[in-house]
């Protein structure tokens, strides 16, 4: 095909607590989140990021790699990516990455992206529903030293190493051009995520990261002890079989991505939550401003005085 350029995309996805289905046990007595009691879901906007990457691949060919950081259980979201069409999944899982804030997280992700190497696009959801910061995507781009385009609504076209993107700017949109590689953050309105593909689900429901396999293996060994006749293959052989069958999801530690431990987890996270306060916004009347130069001047003045502007 003439002009057929396959693009290599990386999609950053996160497993988050399901804040839409919060139960009474969701909060501990001290007011912090009880993650164990919360069901987890695929961060909603990340599904749209994945869809954007898959649509790009549908149109141009290429490869979509899903990347996540989290506990071994976060392999769930990578399996979900595989069900929906991703070519590869990578999980960064390491106890020392726990409690990372956005700075540390974006550092870890950018290290992993560097390790993946060749890429044209990095897709992130605009923000995660647990933190709501919208910082990780942009921080990653900074660390990688590549262009970032936030609030992507549509990839208009891409050719000769230049992508044109329509981004949503609240009350309207703007068309921007960026040279590849580029990191984009994707809005919920960008697309409608495709469903799982049944055949891929049947195939990849068995996909595992090494830690999960090891856990299952240990459990089986314990059961096998009760039933000594049961034959069992050694772990290495099992892992190899998964790998050869394309069912081993990559699992990377902080060492494997060459991360500086001081920049990861708690030591690498300067954010300190000082206090959490619930704020209820109430409306107290309104002021009408005349649509004249004088009216606008007065409005701007008022906004400056109450520090909304400036």
């Amino acid at each position: 095909m003439v002009g057929f350029v396959p693009y290599r995309s990386i999609v950053c996805v996160k497993q988050v607590p399901d804040t839409a289905n919060v139960t009474a046990e969701a909060m501990k007595e001290d007011g912090t989140v009880n993650r164990a009691a919360l069901p987890t879901v695929f961060n909603p906007e990340d599904l749209h990021a994945l869809e954007a990457a898959l649509e790009l691949r549908d149109a141009h060919g290429g490869m979509v790699t899903a990347l996540s950081m989290g506990p071994p259980k976060a392999a769930d979201v990578l399996r979900e990516c595989l069900y929906r069409g991703a070519d590869r999944g990578i999980l960064i899982t390491d106890r020392r990455a726990a409690a990372s804030d956005t700075l540390a997280t974006s550092y870890i992700l950018s290290q992993a992206i560097r390790k993946i190497g060749d890429y044209d696009f990095v897709f992130c959801g605009r923000q995660a529903i647990d933190g709501d910061t919208a910082q990780v995507g942009p921080q990653c781009a900074e660390k990688l030293g590549i262009t970032q385009v936030t609030y992507l609504e549509r990839i208009v076209d891409v050719s000769d190493g230049v992508v044109r993107i329509r981004r949503n700017i609240g009350l309207g949109w703007e068309l921007v051009e960026a040279s590849l590689p580029v990191l984009v953050t994707v809005l919920e309105t960008a697309n409608r995520p495709r469903p799982r593909a049944a055949k891929r689900m049947i195939r990849f429901k068995r996909a595992r990261v090494r830690s999960e396999l090891a856990g299952e293996f240990r459990k089986q060994m314990a059961e096998a002890k009760a039933e000594p006749e049961m034959p069992g293959a050694p772990f290495g052989q099992i892992a190899e079989w998964f790998d050869e069958s394309g069912l081993l999801i990559d699992q990377w530690s902080l060492e494997e991505i060459g991360a500086d431990l001081a920049r990861c987890g708690l030591p690498g996270s300067p954010t300190k939550v000082h206090r959490i306060q619930a704020i209820v916004l109430t409306k107290e009347g309104y002021t009408q401003v005349a649509a004249s130069n004088e009216g606008i001047r007065r409005l701007v003045h008022e906004l400056v005085v109450d520090r909304t502007l400036g």
Binding site: V41, R192, R194, P195, R196, A197, A198, K199, R200, M201, I202, R203, K205
Partner: protein
Amino acid sequence: MPNFFLDNSDIQFLFDHVDLEELARIQEAGAENGDADYVPLDEADAVDDYRGILGIVGQVAAETIAPSAERVDAEGNTLNEDGTVTLHPLVRENLKQLAQADLTGFTLPRNYGGLNCPNLIYTMATEIISRADGSMMNLFGLQGIAETINAFAGKEIKDEVLPRFARGEVTGAMVLTEPDAGSDLQAVRLRAYQDGGGNWFLSGVKRFITNGCGDILLTMARSEPEIADGRGLSLFISERSEKVKVRHLEDKLGIHGSPTCELVYQDTPARLIGRRKLGLTTYVLSLMNGARVSIAAQSLGIAESAYRLARTYAHTRQQFGGPIERLPAVAEMVTDMQIAIEAARALTYETSRVCDRQNNNLRMLQAIPEADGDEKMRRTKLRIQHKRLAGMLTPMSKYYTSEMCVRVAGTAVQVLGGSGYMKDYAAQRHLRDARITTIYEGTSQLQIVAAVRGVTSGVFKTYCEQLEENQHNDPLLAELKEKLVACKEQVLEAVAFLKGKGTAYLDLSGRQIVDAAIVVIVGHLLLGQGATNDRKKRVARRLIESQLPVLHMNCQHVLSGDTSPLDEYDLLAEPVPANE
């Protein structure tokens, strides 16, 4: 995340209640998997896959199809000047999602890219889709076309077309009805003829064709002009082209998302499916049997949707100082709707299970080497048993479930009162959508004609005796079973009476006798469910206790021997209105 599979407790119950591993075993035995990389490891794994697949169906239904239903109903599809049809954009989006989810080759073997699901799982899926939008089922349900091609076409056609169906690239249509051939398909006239080179062509008109604008048309045509009845008909496959045009898109009461087309064939190139003269007698009969179960499933879905609306409304609407569900009349409407749905679901799923055994036995039978005479004999015997049982249960399911659907959709409007009559609520759409289910794929009257044969020929008796083998320890279930045994005797007594009365009276009493027989069968099926579930015991009790008087009435009606609708037709019907 809403999910129409996971949120439906009765489907969940039946998924566990039915022995799906047994079903998976016969479905997977000798399955043609080609080099597919999504083959289950064993029966339990296959069942796990079924669950996963239905989970996807439930998600697409709830998240994509259901939210589009109202707009699709209001806006419909469009006929273009050039004789093509443009589907509503949301219908196209729905089709795209179904294809992306790999749901368009649901029952096809894996070597063609299908999921190789049993019919029962397909029936559940069809119900779930129909709950989201009754009209979307018509496009989803046309997978029966691919199934028919798989069952009867030669390898060349199969290899060419089936992978396209499985990938969701094409949709099909089943093209039978003509202006003068509706219920009476033997009267089909559309001409099939050959040129000197043996190539087939079709010419003529078909009407009321669901998705006649689709890519692959399976058309029944008269290939033997000298044979006037059904034996002169053959089945043909053709691709959409300039040579077959949509002349008219019907403006219908309901299922607006489903395009109903009048088609004009003008020397349209076609290929023969299977052998000549078997079009109606073998291929279309088989196709329609599958399609009838699908319509039963569609009826379940529409009824389920109507019911949920009514259930919620009865709970929230306040009159006379409380929710209307506390008023006895409303409480009865609501509970009877739900029980009617569960009863019909029991019958439809059981029918589906029987069809699975039939289909798989047939598949195995064809694969037996000539030498293995014993096995061939065994499977041939089974084939006859299955055929007779499916031949009775299939029209029973289609009839019972579609009539239930119309009734439940009507009751739902009633529960909503004036609001139910307004376009603001979906209840009126469900009622309009429901209304087609008793008409197409053979009207209720024709289903009765087919079912009555089973009731009078001994299939009903044998099947009941088999159901009666279930022993119930629970006193309530045991007592209800005794009642059903007595009812069966009553039905058989009415059957004996009918047999002495000639065919006109048999036709006249068909509905009563089939209604009575269905109550006995459904009663047994619900007792079986009650054996593992306390709530189901109460469901069985309510159904049986409320339907026994109706059964008695129907049997008495038969025994009355009243033939006045025939003998005194002109008198009772009054003359044909002069100016209609």
